[in-house]
């Protein structure tokens, strides 16, 4: 929901940007807040209540888990924070009777929300007040906005999906730890850009380099030795699941569970009925350039052609004099760099936390499988389809189900055409 607002309307965008900034402040100033609060509970839930960009004080918020209940009211800046004693999923409710006259929830039932503290010690809860910005738009305008979002999201997915696809094509590995490379890219972007205050381009390059190095290390330290042992592909797939869990929780331990705001939302740009940000526009251009670059790499360069040759037939490639292991290593580095870049761009537009990559992993698999396993073009087409399905479907079904819609599309297409949209039949086995 929150990811959507930023791309949907100016008000919502600014609203979210403010909230996000506030969170990072909250976090930085956590000890001070803790001192104000007599409670020393280790976990906290917080948020800010805004109506039409204006803070709303004195709204009562209640958090409940089993028999534990506590309430606070918002301060003059509309902020609230509740500290709680144990982990769990808290029900958080806004008392509508305490809202000022004339102020209502945007959605019916929007006064009840939840805070998931099972994995982290901090959770943000947003309540959306005032008129919805969506309803004013006509159907065709809405569709246009969605298609735009779908294109943007699909291109981002494509860059990461090509990474999966290249690795699958050359080694046969279904890498479940791929999502963590997206996360790594986004979080290192945050480190360089927000943490170390580097310029945006230097930060992006730095983050991509970190992920590329991670890809190199992964292949050298884990996957190559396993290939040497001639481990079965399904077995390797399960190893990648384990690796993904380890990587994810290391990221959680290092970066914490909060959502990082990396780009601050960017400046609003209007294209007809579409409100978007300059970051989204630049990101879109970068994605197109990178996709073209990958296409050129694969079709024009010696290494790129050798990559396709290895995907076609590794043993023939070896018999032709190509050092297959070297190509695979290069593929790991290139694929990781691409995936890291996807993470950087994703993080700039939508913020990121330790679960960012994991959340979109299945969409990436869906994209790759949909397009036909192992072809870069297929992965791109698949990713654009998935991006579109995700965004356009939310016009017709509840927003929380948009990822589910993409997965259902995947299942349906596999039933009709198991080799994928562009795949070759012999790959099914």
């Amino acid at each position: 929901m929150s990811q959507l607002n930023i791309r949907m309307g100016r008000k919502a965008g600014v609203f979210l940007g403010l909230v996000a900034m506030l969170f990072s402040l909250l976090f930085a100033g956590a000890p001070a807040h803790a001192a104000d609060d007599p409670s020393t509970y280790p976990y906290s839930i917080a948020g800010t209540i805004l109506n039409d960009d204006k803070e709303v004080p004195d709204v009562k918020i209640t958090a409940t888990l089993d028999d534990f209940t506590t309430s606070v009211v918002t301060n003059e800046w509309g902020e609230w924070e509740i500290r709680v004693p144990k982990q769990g999923i808290y029900k958080v409710e806004l008392d509508v009777t305490t809202l000022p006259a004339g102020v209502t929830m945007t959605d019916k039932g929007g006064e009840v929300s939840e805070a998931d503290l099972t994995q982290t010690d901090f959770a943000a809860v947003l309540f959306s007040l005032g008129k919805s910005t969506v309803q004013a738009q006509s159907f065709s305008d809405q569709l246009l906005v969605r298609v735009w979002s779908g294109l943007n999201f699909g291109l981002l997915l494509a860059i990461a999906a090509i990474g999966i696809s290249l690795i699958f094509g050359t080694t046969g590995l279904n890498n479940f730890a791929h999502g963590e490379m997206v996360t790594l890219g986004a979080l290192f972007m945050w480190v360089f850009y927000q943490g170390l205050g580097q310029n945006i381009i230097v930060s992006a390059l730095g983050a991509v380099a970190v992920v590329a190095a991670f890809g190199w290390a992964q292949d050298a330290g884990l996957w190559k030795p396993l290939r040497k042992r001639r481990m079965g592909l399904n077995q390797m797939m399960i190893v990648s699941i384990g690796f993904s869990i380890v990587a994810r929780y290391v990221l959680l331990l290092v970066f914490g569970g909060d959502t990082k705001d990396i780009g601050g939302g960017g400046n609003i740009v209007q294209l007809g009925p579409i409100y978007t940000s300059d970051i989204a526009l630049v990101s879109l251009v970068i994605c197109v350039i990178i996709l073209a670059g990958v296409a050129l790499f694969l079709t024009r360069t010696r290494i790129g052609k050798a990559t396709r040759a290895v995907s076609d037939n590794p043993s023939l490639a070896a018999a032709t004099g190509i050092d297959v292991e070297r190509i695979v290593r290069i593929v790991w580095i290139v694929a990781s760099a691409l995936t890291g870049l996807a993470g950087v761009l994703y993080g700039l537009q939508f913020q990121a936390n330790w679960l960012t990559g994991f959340d979109i992993l299945l969409l990436l698999f869906a994209a790759v499988t949909l397009g036909g396993l192992g072809t870069a073009l297929g992965a791109t087409v698949g990713a654009l389809i998935i991006g579109m399905v995700v965004e356009v479907s939310s016009m017709f079904i509840p927003n929380e189900l948009k990822y589910a819609a993409a997965l259902v599309v995947l299942i349906v297409i596999l039933i009709v055409r198991p080799q994928g949209v562009l795949g070759k039949k012999q790959r099914i086995g």
Binding site: K305, A306, R308, A319, T320, G321
Partner: protein, 242 residues
């Protein structure tokens, strides 16, 4: 023989499954510029002999020499850089690459030589030059065979190993394939080919080895063997006498 043979396979023992040898004490000599045929009934170990020369089957005993150098069980990319080229029987092109890209893969280790070698190869196979942008996956079996052979020739090999170049081709295409092989050989490349079509093979080759149950049972010039009545017996067993 005073001259060092290009390839000398000495008493090879090799097989795929542990404990089962396909080759039993099998030897082969190929001199500079020769066209050598390996023929024999199914299951005699023809392809295995070729693959053990190219290091694709583990050689359990015996040695393979290339111009006097021991190349037994060497890795494929090492062999390629030493000038040994191998064309497998099936799956011998990269289907998603164009003809030109397939040929480029042939000179992967020495990309600078592409233009020079491309000219050499398209002299023998003019069609490859004309259709360089076509995807190899869209070609017919005979055309693929040309691409595969062309790719192998790109490295300027001192010896070319061919595994059944006529397999799966129509009779006309088979004849064409044999003549191409002969032409490649005339251009100065030592060729060792395994063939199912014994008669055709014997017609074009200088010398042939007839394998039976993993051993080199007979050897002789192509013409001698072609007219040898024992050949029919070897292929069809003693069946005809029954």
């Amino acid at each position: 023989m005073s001259q060092t043979p290009v390839v000398y396979a000495e008493n090879l023992v090799a097989g795929y499954l542990p404990g089962i040898n396909i080759l039993n004490d099998c030897s082969l000599v190929a001199n500079q510029g020769e066209l050598i045929g390996i023929i024999g009934p199914n299951g005699a170990g023809k392809s295995t002999l070729l693959k053990s020369i190219f290091g694709q089957v583990n050689v359990r005993a015996g040695k393979v020499w290339l111009n006097g150098e021991d190349i037994t069980n060497l890795k494929a990319n090492k062999l390629v850089s030493k000038g040994v080229a191998f064309v497998p029987q099936t799956n011998n092109v990269f289907p998603s690459l164009t003809i030109e890209e397939n040929l480029q893969m042939g000179v992967f280790q020495t990309p600078k030589r592409f233009d020079e070698r491309f000219e050499f190869v398209t002299n023998i196979f003019p069609d490859l030059g004309k259709r360089r942008a076509q995807k190899a996956g869209s070609l017919s079996g005979g055309e693929r065979q040309m691409v595969a052979m062309g790719r192998a020739l790109m490295i300027d090999p001192s010896v070319l190993l061919l595994d059944e170049p006529s397999a799966g081709l129509s009779p006309v295409r088979q004849d064409e394939a044999f003549l191409r092989v002969k032409e490649v050989n005339k251009a100065g490349v030592t060729v060792i080919m395994v063939e199912q079509n014994a008669r055709r093979c014997l017609q074009i080759c200088d010398r042939a080895y007839v394998l039976d149950q993993g051993k080199d049972a007979h050897t002789g010039t192509g013409r001698e063997l072609l007219n040898d009545p024992k050949m029919v017996e070897l292929y069809l067993g003693n069946l005809a006498e029954l």
